[in-house]
């Protein structure tokens, strides 16, 4: 048992508790109360400190790319679509990136294949602390990764292979989804001889077609419209990841099956085209329109700290701090479909909690004092 006593709690569920206590038992949040009559002697004094749910990074590659992309194990660039591969097999859980994530308050990450392929593979939800991948992975799969634009073009275009163009990318996606439909229909055949041979890639496409998981789509600027159009055609769910330029398409996004906009990373050189318009303030409008909004590190591309710095940029443009903290916690948890376990401070949820000195994303010097995962203090400053 552990009690976190007297802190200001951003619950990401039931508003802000100016001064409250949290009882943790068996790795879960057992109770939240203004009074502490639990008789627990194991206490963290959080008087004057700020408590938030563990930060959830909805788009990352940590553990799969080395700490500086020197060990890229998440881009299986042998075919423009590899829906059969899964990120969980490529994650080095001993990577220093997990330690650094913990130090920055990130307790869960969506670890995705890279963007070299149009269809990259399955995405998993992984906690930053645990013994091994089976222990750390809380849900697999949570999405099927896709990528539009310059990344897959850059890989296959150089080889004179499909896709060399954006037209080619859209065609690869439609071909796979159509083949998936065919596979699914045949699988349901009463005649066993007409059922297709097991194809792991097609099985994963079918998960998308059955809306069990969304497509997680790397796209910027007008590539979003390609995603929205194809998703409508096949009646499937999707998230828009990176999403630079989202402010040009508010109506398209909010009238679509978009399950979330996962924004970032920003702080990059601008170039005309894909990297020409960066508008993290668009999250304020999208959030107001009811689109679930989250912020990413794209780790190891950005340092883990930068998830909070980027959240600060939303505050700079007028974002309300409570809603911005939701973009780091409950929103990504919902987008990833792991909000039954993480993303808010509520009774029954995993005790993934961060204690800050200062308000993250508002006070630039807010520092992580404690990170708690499954009720275990995994970092103390």
């Amino acid at each position: 048992m552990l009690v976190i006593k007297g802190g200001k709690i951003f619950t990401s569920a039931n508003g802000v508790i100016e001064k409250g206590n949290i009882l943790i038992k068996d790795g879960k949040i057992e109770a939240i109360s203004q009074t502490d009559d639990w008789g627990c002697t194991n206490i963290i004094d959080a008087e004057g400190l700020i408590i938030t749910p563990g930060i959830v990074d909805a788009h990352s590659h940590i553990g799969g790319f080395g700490s500086d992309m020197s060990d890229p194990d998440l881009n299986e660039m042998t075919n423009n679509a590899t829906p059969e591969v899964e990120s969980i097999y490529a994650i080095d859980t001993d990577s220093i990136m997990f330690k650094r994530a913990i130090e920055s308050g990130i307790t869960t990450s969506a670890i995705a294949p890279g963007s070299g392929n149009v269809i990259g593979g399955l995405v998993s939800a992984v906690k930053s602390y645990g013994n091994n991948i089976e222990d750390m992975c809380i849900k697999n799969p949570i999405a099927l990764k896709m990528a539009l634009g310059g990344n897959p073009k850059g890989v296959y275009g150089k080889r004179n292979q499909l896709p060399m163009t954006r037209m080619g990318i859209a065609q690869v996606i439609r071909d796979y989804l159509n083949k998936g439909k065919e596979y699914m229909e045949k699988s349901l055949s009463d005649d066993p001889s007409k059922r297709p041979k097991l194809d792991y890639g097609m099985e994963n496409i079918c998960k998308v077609l059955r809306k069990e998981i969304p497509l997680k789509v790397h796209c910027e600027q007008f590539d979003m419209l390609t995603t929205i159009r194809i998703a409508k055609e096949f009646d499937i769910d999707f998230t828009l990841d990176h999403a630079w330029g989202a402010s040009d398409f508010y109506d398209d996004i909010s009238n679509s099956n978009c399950k979330g906009v996962i924004y970032g990373p920003i702080g990059v050189l601008l170039l005309p085209g894909e990297c020409g318009k960066i508008d993290i303030h668009s999250l304020i409008e999208l959030d107001m329109r009811g689109v679930p909004c989250a912020i990413m590190t794209d780790g190891p591309i950005s340092n883990p700290d930068i998830i909070i710095v980027q959240a600060g940029e939303v505050v700079r443009f007028g974002g309300d701090i409570e809603r911005v903290i939701n973009m780091l916690t409950i929103n990504p948890a919902r987008i990833m479909g792991v909000d039954d376990r993480v993303g808010s401070i509520e009774v029954g949820k995993d005790a993934d909690i961060v204690i800050f000195r200062g308000i993250p994303a508002l006070d630039t010097n807010a520092k992580v004092m404690y990170t708690i995962i499954n009720g275990v203090v995994v970092y103390q400053n």
């Binding site: 700490s67 500086d68 992309m69 650094r100 310059g150 850059g154 920003i266 702080g267 990059v268 050189l269 601008l270 170039l271 005309p272 020409g276 960066i278 590190t297 780790g299 190891p300 591309i301 950005s302 340092n303 883990p304 700290d305 930068i306 710095v309 600060g312 940029e313 505050v315 700079r316 443009f317 994303a361 508002l362 006070d363 630039t364 010097n365 807010a366 520092k367």
Partner: protein, 388 residues
């Protein structure tokens, strides 16, 4: 776009001058693009526009010490910074690679950056001359504050990464250091009576301390090795990147009067940046070592937000706000030898002044609401008719 310098009275702001002083509720009079007077309640006889900065934080325009803005793109392949035909190219002048429309496209002034040191890439042992430009304008030479502010080179692995695949030097760090020494030695022996040699002419100024030498280095070992090699030379050395500074080399840095431009600590891709010890940074500040913050490093890909983010991370890690401000204003100006023009709010200096709603180093709830460059508020101005 009107380039004329303007007159303005910035009234009643809380001025942080960039040298460590704060003047509350004070006016700044700007005439012909220069700061004319700083005083309380300046009375005017003439008709000059007034900007009300009551309760606002007024800071000098930030200076990005080293960056690549203006010189790469518009396409992914368009790179005018890496002259990889030769690992020793000190004679290259970045002025010829700087595209004003590219600079304008970055809109870095929206985050308070009014000047930037622009540098050739860090993947040659000696890459060329850096220059300092204003971040707003429609003509590169009008934006130029000073060229040849330093010869920029590198001893990090970026150099060997380029040349080893060609089976040419430098294939190793040994090769990098050896080349550096060889050319500095040659430059010492060079005289104008000898046949024309553009490399040695450039380096002659370095070994005669007329031009500082900026060397990109990541690790502690690289810094120590560099100091060891340069013992035999009389150069004005600026360490850039410099994540490897530690307690053991404090005295070495002080005794040799080294200056430091810290590299980007926001970019995750440079693993070396994780080693920066902020307690040592504080020690260096206490010992008055000239230090600035930048978004430079092995991989320079930074946006308008990056310098402020780096400043914020120094503040978050315990460097006080006033010292952080110096590191992106007056210190940067001194290291880049442009402190006669920019870097602080003082009479006689260029009127590069930013009015913030709050102190941006201390709170995210802070926006630049006016950005004066040469006295002109450029914040809402957009370049038109550009191919960018």
């Amino acid at each position: 776009m009107n380039e004329e310098h303007e007159d303005i009275l910035i009234k009643n702001g809380n001025i942080h001058d960039g040298n460590g002083n704060i003047f509350y509720s004070t006016d700044i009079l700007v005439k012909d693009g220069k700061i004319k007077q700083i005083a309380k309640e300046i009375e005017l006889n003439e008709d000059i526009p007034v900007y009300d900065a009551t309760d606002k934080v007024v800071l000098p325009g930030f200076i990005e010490s080293l960056n690549i803005w203006g010189c790469t793109g518009p396409g992914w392949g368009d790179n005018d910074l890496e002259e990889h035909s030769d690992p020793i190219t000190p004679q290259m002048n970045v002025v010829y690679s700087f595209d004003q429309d590219n600079m304008m496209f970055q809109r870095v002034f929206e985050y308070g950056i009014t000047s930037a040191g622009i540098t050739p890439g860090t993947s040659n042992v000696l890459g060329g001359y850096a220059a300092v430009f204003k971040t707003f304008g429609d003509h590169p030479y009008k934006m130029l504050i000073k060229e040849k502010v330093g010869v920029v080179g590198s001893v990090s692995r970026t150099t060997t990464t380029v040349y080893k695949d060609r089976n040419m030097a430098p294939m190793t760090k040994m090769g990098t250091f050896s080349l550096l020494r060889e050319y500095l030695k040659k430059a010492e022996a060079y005289s104008t009576e000898m046949p024309y040699d553009s490399k040695l002419i450039s380096l002659k100024d370095v070994v005669e301390k007329k031009t500082p030498l900026f060397i990109n280095c990541n690790t502690n070992s690289e810094i120590v090795a560099l100091n060891h090699l340069l013992k035999d030379f009389d150069v004005d050395l600026v360490l850039t990147g410099a994540y490897g500074v530690n307690e053991n080399i404090l005295n070495m840095i002080i005794d040799n009067k080294l200056k430091i431009i810290f590299g980007d600590v926001t970019n995750g891709m440079s693993a070396a940046s994780q080693n920066l010890n902020f307690d040592v940074v504080r020690e260096l500040i206490n010992k008055n070592v000239p230090i600035s913050i930048s978004s430079t490093g092995d991989r320079m890909s930074s946006g308008k937000e990056s310098l402020l983010w780096n400043a914020i991370l120094f503040y978050k890690n315990g460097i006080n706000s006033s010292d952080v401000l110096k590191m992106i204003t007056s210190n940067a100006a001194k290291i880049l030898s442009v402190d006669d023009r920019i870097g602080s709010i003082e009479p006689g200096k260029d009127a590069d002044i930013v009015v913030w709603t709050n102190n941006p180093i201390e709170s995210y709830d802070s926006k630049a609401e006016a950005v004066f460059i040469n006295g002109k508020n450029v914040l809402g101005v957009w370049r038109t008719g550009s191919c960018w």
